[in-house]
Subunit: 493 residues, 2 copies
């Protein structure tokens, strides 16, 4: 067997264990009774150790050296590139550092769950200082291994090929027009009137509505499910994608659009190339591209006037005991495009969301590169919030720098993916509209042309192309903020 | 670390992977969409291979040799005995035979799913001959390894310590009185009148009813769930036990008692000793003892007059739109104790069930011991059915020897567990009644005294004692058919 073939077989073996991890992980979040958690955590930790041991087997180094001498097709070359990247990621850090960071992260995250509610920055800061120090150490080692700056080496985990140079350029562009745009839109919306949902919305009916919308979005129920969990997510494996949502009896708006969002993630997974199953080249390209698909569904399609028309109609007939005025298209459109400057990222609307991300990016970049100390973060947060959204977080840690889970266990470099995703999504839509009658397709109720484009350009490509190649082939240009800007102006002004 | 401690650590490691197998197995049966099956099967096969490799690591032989020289407590000695038994079971067969039997079994079982409906004995017999031959080979190897007859070596997989000598003695006893008893009861019941459920029974309400009954039976919902699957089962792990049922909108009787049955399995699992978790000494004693707990719940408690009173009341208030006469206690009692001679084991009542099992036992014993050929089975089946239940299966293969899945993939030696379980359950009840007011406890709605006895004598014992020791300590005598006989006479005559 060629060395390349051995690497492929080994990767498929690892993918079987990843399959198990994905399913028991979904189970833990969606259906496991609480008393099962200790044994489950032990079993999952054992599985992680096993998967790590497979990624670090000594013979892999030889196989890579040999495989690089073998004659490979273009696709095989891409597979080898991704296999090697994955192998390097798994082997770059000393075991001791991985364990220390995992322990410090668990401790910090666990305490944060209480400390945040108590606005206890002092308590949090004590645990967090260790997480930051270990993350800086991690970034340093990664940086030395691949010749990047420390922060870029962390970015590379989630967004291979992206650098802070390009992020600076993209985000600085956004910063020149976003704050003004937000003000203009808020001014415009201040005179608008709309109805908010009131009364009770049965969760069985909400689920039924969600399933109908998933059907409209051509979710493949032969290869996936919809369930409930405290924190909605998209899990499982490409042949069996598990999305979750959370229902609130007092309103259906958030859960419904949450399902649209997760369906975007799910269809990407369901559409990955089956011929490359079990290989990293057959997996999703990056966190940013993954988010581009969920945001394409949620923001580009889901909040379009044409789609809102379907949503309003489906919701209205599901909740036929409620005030019909709530389900008027115009009211629905307003409900789903309301802009407000506020403190919390996860509750932010499409327009203010990038401000939250850029703020975090600028802080974590400087923190990981050692330009600021972790104790500088609250003040920096406050001044950037003032600057981008006109809000003060002075002394308000829980709605400021302590609001997100990401930093508590050292996931630095992740935040930019959200806004990269929004920009990719806008750029994909602009390109798609050159050949597809998007609104016509949505209005007709048969969205096939839209999904065919996404499947062809994005989903079926897996990770064979680099992110830049993928975006360039799909849209004719590399990523820029212009399409995103035009999309926002057109929708909100 | 002592060799014993190393064995313990190794066993706990294996138990983590068994945990994963149990959860993804439940998932496959209860929630997985059909399109996920291929990838899931591959992942589960990979996991099986891994677990097998852990059971067969070469250093284990040394550890066992050393551990047997170490000074161990009584409980540790029991743990070592069970660890060694498990290790021997995993290592006794050549890999090639395991694979060949697995392939032949899958092929035969898969084809059987179609052939049974077509009454195609000829087609089935072709595949089955290989399964039988490989099972005979397996039995021969097992027999040589532990000095038993071939069939006893198969029995030993499911019911360690039981022999066909003792089964012959138990079952021959039953055969002296069962056929007459069945006739008497059928004669007695022939003049009885009762109402069968008619109309529609909402499955949500059936589920609610099942949950209420599980609560009465003190199922621990912090450590388990109720779900649905085509074939009801009890799965999961002791800290998270997953039972399933199947609802039929046309009646609720079967599903309801099925839930009582699975709850018996579940409470045994939930009550296993936590201090021995991850070790075979902390697992259920045997298939027969497991079945004794489900049948204790279903037959000893569940069909008692006192419990039927609860069931009738709970069902009546759940289905309050139906004819109240259906939920009269007397009617419920008759519904749940109806006796009928029929072809199908899984549909058989408490009284005729042992006849189905004894028939299978006698045939599989002689088949595995090479005293009969697999082509003799249909005629033997017919003559034994005539003898025990007065029914002919001449030419009726699908309701005769082709009705069960067990033999299709070579699970010979399993059937006796069902009737052993029924006998153990009757013997446990007789012993319990010497110190516990069973009917009083059931009538009061607080069944704690019953469960305390079971927990103390059975559940908390795991596999520390041998089956014979366990039964003798719990009941003062070894297993005999007398309590079972008295129980049946008292209930049915």
């Amino acid at each position: 067997m060629s060395a390349f073939k051995q690497l492929v077989t080994h990767s498929q073996k690892i993918s079987h264990f990843n399959h198990l991890a994905a399913i028991v992980g979904w189970d833990q979040a969606a259906v496991m009774p609480s008393g099962g958690n200790q044994a489950r955590s032990n079993a999952m930790a054992e599985l992680s150790v096993h998967i790590h041991s497979l990624h670090t087997q000594p013979q892999l180094a030889d196989w890579f050296a040999q495989a690089e001498q073998e004659s490979l097709s273009l696709q095989e070359t891409a597979t080898l590139r991704e296999l090697k990247r994955q192998w390097q990621q798994a082997n770059v850090l000393p075991e001791k550092l991985v364990q220390a960071k995992s322990l410090a992260g668990s401790k910090c995250e666990h305490a944060w769950r209480t400390q945040r509610g108590q606005n206890d920055w002092q308590g949090f800061e004590k645990n967090w200082s260790e997480v930051v120090a270990l993350s800086q150490e991690e970034a340093q080692i990664r940086a030395e291994a691949n010749g990047l700056t420390p922060y870029d080496a962390m970015l590379d985990i989630y967004e291979p090929g992206t650098s802070s140079t390009s992020l600076d350029s993209l985000f600085n562009d956004v910063k020149t027009w976003l704050p003004d745009l937000i003000d203009q839109v808020i001014e415009k919306q201040s005179s608008e009137h709309y109805l908010e949902p009131t009364g009770q919305f049965d969760t069985q009916k909400q689920k039924q509505l969600g399933l109908e919308v998933m059907k409209l979005l051509q979710f493949d129920f032969e290869h996936g499910r919809l369930d409930e969990s405290v924190h909605p997510f998209c899990g499982g494996v490409p042949s069996d994608v598990r999305i979750t949502t959370r229902y609130d009896e007092n309103e259906f708006v958030q859960s419904l659009m949450g399902i649209v969002h997760e369906t975007g993630h799910a269809r990407y997974e369901q559409g990955l190339p089956k011929s490359l199953s079990g290989l990293p080249s057959g997996e999703a390209r990056s966190m940013g591209i993954h988010e581009s698909q969920s945001l394409f569904f949620e923001m580009q399609v889901g909040r379009s006037e044409a789609f809102i028309q379907h949503l309003a109609k489906l919701a209205g007939s599901q909740f036929d005991q409620h005030n019909p005025a709530l389900f008027a298209q115009d009211n629905f459109q307003k409900l789903y495009t309301r802009v407000k400057k506020d403190f919390i990222r996860v509750d932010a609307d499409e327009l203010t969301y990038p401000a939250h991300v850029i703020l975090r990016y600028e802080i974590e970049r400087d923190l990981i590169n050692g330009k600021i100390k972790h104790t500088d973060v609250p003040d920096l947060w406050d001044s950037k919030m003032q600057q981008y959204l006109g809000l003060s977080t002075q002394g308000n840690f829980k709605n400021g720098c302590m609001q997100d889970i990401h930093w508590t266990d050292g996931a630095f470099g992740y935040f930019p993916s959200y806004t990269l995703g929004a920009m990719y999504a806008a750029q994909f839509m602009a390109a798609m509209k050159q050949s597809v009658d998007v609104d016509g397709a949505i209005l007709s109720g048969d969205l096939t042309p839209i999904f065919s484009w996404l499947s062809d350009k994005i989903w079926s490509q897996g990770s064979v192309l680099t992110t830049d190649e993928l975006v360039k082939r799909a849209t004719g240009e590399t990523l820029n903020a212009e399409h995103f800007k035009q999309h926002l102006i057109q929708r909100y002004l």
